[in-house]
Each structure stands twice: as structure tokens, then as C-alpha cells.
């Protein structure tokens, strides 16, 4: 059964299309990473799933209902980002105890334990916290609500690396004990990779890839070597990325399946096959121009 069904969804703001005919499905109890460049439409998509905004066109269903302005969907969904607002009159501990009654599966002992672990001051006001502390505190709410659909929009903004690691560990541990559907958006795939099952890559409001992270790892390879030899080898094949890393030498990224039969030739031609990290691959897949930032400097 699918928790999220998104069919041909478009969201326009005036002339600008934040999401462009996007279709995908997300199954129950999966951890999916929503990856994309700045302005790719990640937040728009997540807010739409959380029911904050309406699709302009197309059909979006969460728990088989339209999420916008829907109380049932709201009860089963929590959306965590760094814009969460709490009343100024609440101290941090008040927030935890006041939000709790709204969510059926709220686990207060877990919330308290995490709160103490990250050594928050119970009397502090939410609005006075630093960016990183705010993200950490909001994430505690995200984990402790144990909502069947938990959405994190850039949850690690401002967190230091130790806290980031702790957050991912805590999330994963609680997920294993209490499976639920989790959506995480980030532009840093490298740090998320280990906890994700699926990855949804979007670019300019359109779907680029939606596949298990294991498949993404096997999707492409990089080949490096002499420019002439490499160009003849890859001739007629679709390149994901091409870069001249030194004079006369070329580096290309290519889909693995397109060279499966010709692996022998690669070595015969003195070319080198390199694995490519999912993080780099996502950057290449969503690249605006073929040559990357280097092109800018070559031209000027």
C-alpha cells in the first residue's frame, strides 16, 4: 500500500513552476531521501504532502486522501523544518508537554531522554535558540511524535557534525523499533546515504530518479584516461557528465549498463574505471551545464 501517491502534480507560483508534472509513489514504512539542488522544489513538495499548500494541477493523495486542509492526514503527519513556530510564553519543556496531546503515538519518555541527552535548558525560549539547537529541538519533536508519516525538511541545518550523526542514529534506531514512513530532504546526500532505503531525486520541479539507494550506487561509473581513446570508446553513448581534468585527459560518467559488454575494452585502451559516489552522481545528474563550475573559469 502506498502512503503517498503523487500523480502528474504541478505547482505554479505565477509564471514560475515550482513542481512540473511530478509523479511518484512512496510505499509504507520506507525511509526516502528527497534530494535536489537549491530551488529544485523540495520544500514545495514536502509542504504539499504535509497539507500546507494545494497542488495547482494533478492529484496528490496521502493515506488515500487529499492532504490539504485535512484533519485525518494532519493527525498522521508531522512536518519538521526550521520555521516551526511555538508560542513565546512556552518554555522548551512546555512545548514538549503541550504538543504531546495532539499526537496519539507521542512517546514522552523518548522525548525527555533525547532532550536531556542534547542538554537543553528546560527554561529556555524557543525563539532565542541558535539555528543548530532549534533544528535539534525540532527533530526531537519529529522523532517523538512517531507519526505514520514523518517529514523532515533539511533537518540538520546548522547542526554540528556530532549532533548530525547522533540525530541520524537516533532516527534510525527509533525507526527500526517503530517503523513508519519517513521523508527526509537534503542536499547533502553523503551524510544521509547510510540510513536511506530509497532516493527521490528532483530537478527543476521534475522527477529525475526514484530508486533504491543500492541501485543508485550501481547505476553509473566514471572512466578516466586519454582524451582520444576515451572519446572513441564512448562514442554514440549517452554521457551523464564530462570533464577535462588535465590537458589531454578526460573524465566521463556513464551509465553502467551501456558499457556492460565492453568492460574488457576499457582496460585494453588504458582507461581507468572508477566507482562514483551517489552524492556526486546526483550532482552530475542535476547539473545545469555539462562542464560544471570549471567551465565558468575557462571562459572568462
Amino acid at each position: 500500500m502506498n502512503v503517498i501517491q503523487c500523480h502528474d502534480v504541478t505547482k505554479s507560483y505565477g509564471q514560475n513552476r515550482a513542481l512540473d508534472h511530478l509523479s511518484f509513489e512512496i510505499g509504507e514504512n520506507k525511509i526516502t531521501g528527497l534530494i535536489g539542488r537549491n530551488g529544485a522544489g523540495k520544500t514545495t513538495l514536502l509542504k504539499m504532502i504535509a497539507g500546507y499548500i494545494k497542488p495547482t494541477q494533478g492529484e496528490l493523495q496521502v493515506f488515500t486522501r487529499k492532504p490539504f486542509n485535512n484533519l485525518d492526514v494532519s493527525a498522521k503527519t508531522i512536518f519538521i523544518d526550521d520555521n516551526m513556530t511555538f508560542p513565546d510564553s512556552f518554555r522548551l519543556t512546555d512545548i514538549l508537554s503541550e504538543v504531546a496531546p495532539f499526537y496519539a503515538a507521542w512517546n514522552s519518555s523518548l522525548a525527555d531522554a533525547l532532550f536531556n541527552y542534547f542538554s537543553f535548558d528546560p527554561n529556555q525560549a524557543h525563539s532565542n535558540m541558535s539555528k543548530g539547537s532549534k533544528s535539534t529541538f525540532n527533530s526531537i519533536i519529529g522523532i517523538a511524535t512517531r507519526c505514520p508519516l514523518t517529514i523532515f525538511d533539511e533537518p540538520t541545518t546548522g547542526m554540528d557534525s556530532a549532533v548530525r550523526k547522533d540525530f541520524y542514529k537516533a532516527l534510525l534506531k527509533d525507526y527500526l523499533e517503530h517503523p513508519r514512513t519517513i521523508l527526509l530532504s537534503s542536499h547533502l546526500l553523503s551524510e544521509l546515504e547510510e540510513i536511506l532505503e530509497d532516493i527521490l531525486l528532483i530537478d527543476n520541479g521534475s522527477k529525475c530518479l526514484h530508486l533504491p539507494i543500492m541501485e543508485l550506487r550501481e547505476l553509473a561509473v566514471g572512466i578516466r584516461g586519454n582524451e582520444q581513446a576515451l572519446l572513441t570508446f564512448v562514442e554514440g553513448k549517452e554521457l551523464i557528465y564530462k570533464e577535462e581534468f588535465a590537458k589531454g585527459s578526460l573524465y566521463v560518467v556513464i551509465k553502467k549498463e551501456s558499457i556492460e559488454q565492453e568492460f574488457k575494452h576499457v582496460r585494453q585502451n588504458g582507461l581507468e574505471v572508477l566507482p562514483i559516489s551517489p552524492d556526486d552522481l546526483c550532482v552530475y545528474l542535476t547539473g545545469k551545464t555539462g562542464g560544471g563550475i570549471d567551465d565558468v573559469f575557462k571562459r572568462s
Binding site: M1, E28, N29, K47, G51, Y52, I53, K54, F63, F68, N69, N70, L71, D72, S74, A75, I78, F79, N83, M84, T85, F86, P87, D88, S89, F90, D94, E98, V99, P101, F102, Y103, A104, I141, P148, P179, R180
Partner: protein
Amino acid sequence: MMSLKEVDLLSISIKQYVYKLKAYSTLFYGLLLAQIITLFFSLNGISHMSSSNGELSVSVNSYSASLVIVFSFFWILFAAIQLTTKQYKKIENPLVTNRISGNLSNIGFLMTACVFGGITSSLVGVLLRIIMYFTFDRSQIISDEFILAFSDLLLGISVAILYMVLISGMGYLTGMLTKVSMAFVIIIPAVIIGISKAYADIFQSLIKFFTLESSLPLFALKVIITSILMFGVSILLSNRGEVSQ
């Protein structure tokens, strides 16, 4: 895991109401503080009159707590408008909510504020009398109503609450209209001033409809029906489309 346990609108609205009551408790302290300050102003008398003909001089000080009630009316008007602002709406986001539950809890909060404001502002009138009784020369106090009958106090409280309900409805609707279009910030005062000038008689009778009602149950009925209409329209307006985030 996928059990679609239906949530019920009323219980969520009540939870939100309790949440908001705690969240905006400072508003209530603010009103109390303001009432006490206005009380001290009222202790100097709200009007002063003296005359003398050389032999005899008469000096009259009038005291009244009406200033406190007027102040409470303004307070509820601003509270109602404020609840419709984007900033206040944002605190609903982390909670289980939809537009209707958000509005219902707001209305519940405003009604509580009306009751609180109505009772406290009427009691300030009693407090004013008590302070005067002990601090002034009693032989110089002239009033038929100095000793306030309990039934009159109750009547005063009820009327103050009802007026505040009416005002909160106007404020809430105004706030919602400005969410639909900022043009209403200009249109609303323009229409009110326009009607009061061009159709003075209609405007007068509209005011008289509420202010000259001598029967409490009838007055209550008028206020309740008008307020239900105003809040109802507000809910319809907010349920219409999406509010920009």
C-alpha cells in the same frame, strides 16, 4: 500500522483551544494590568466641574469606571484581529489542525477572553467604589447607585460580555477580510464612514438596534445571531483556499 483512526474535529478543536489559552495567557495579564492603570486614572475623576458666586462655591467630581470598559472593548478588538494574522496562524502548524479546527479554537479563545474581560472590567467598577468608600469623605459622595445591587452587577457583566462578543466578531471578520485582500484595510473604514454620512438614518438605526435594546434576552439574541453570522462568514472565508506560507 495503517489503521485510519478517524480524528474528531471537536476533540482536536478543544485541544487547540487549551493550547491557545496557555499560549496567549500573557494577553490576559496585559488586560489586568491595563485595567488597574485605567482605574488609577479614573480615581482622579473622569470629569470635573466647579462654580462659585462669591459666597458659595460648588465643586463636583464625577467618577466612573466606564473608561475601563471602553478600554476592554479595544483590547478584545485587537485580540480578535491579531488571531487572524499570519504570525499567530503559524503556531498551529506543528499541531494536528485544519482550517475549521483552527477557527473553532480561536472563537473559543475569544469567547473566554470576552467573559474574562467582561467580568474583570465590571469588577473594576466595584473596586473603584470600594477605594472611594474608604479613602474619600463619605458625606460628600452623592450617588443613587453608589451601592451597587448584585443584580445590577450581573446585568453589567452580561452586557459587557455581550458587547465584547459583538466586537470580537467584528474584529475577527475584519481580520479575515484583510487576509482575502489587503484592499479591505481601506475599504472597510471607507464603507463605514460612507454609510454613516450618506445613509445616516440607516446607520443610526443600526447602532440603535444594539444600543437601545432594553430587554437583556432580546439584546443577547441580537448579539448572538449577529456574531454567529460574522464568525460563520470568517470560517467560510478562511476555508476557501490556501494561505500563503
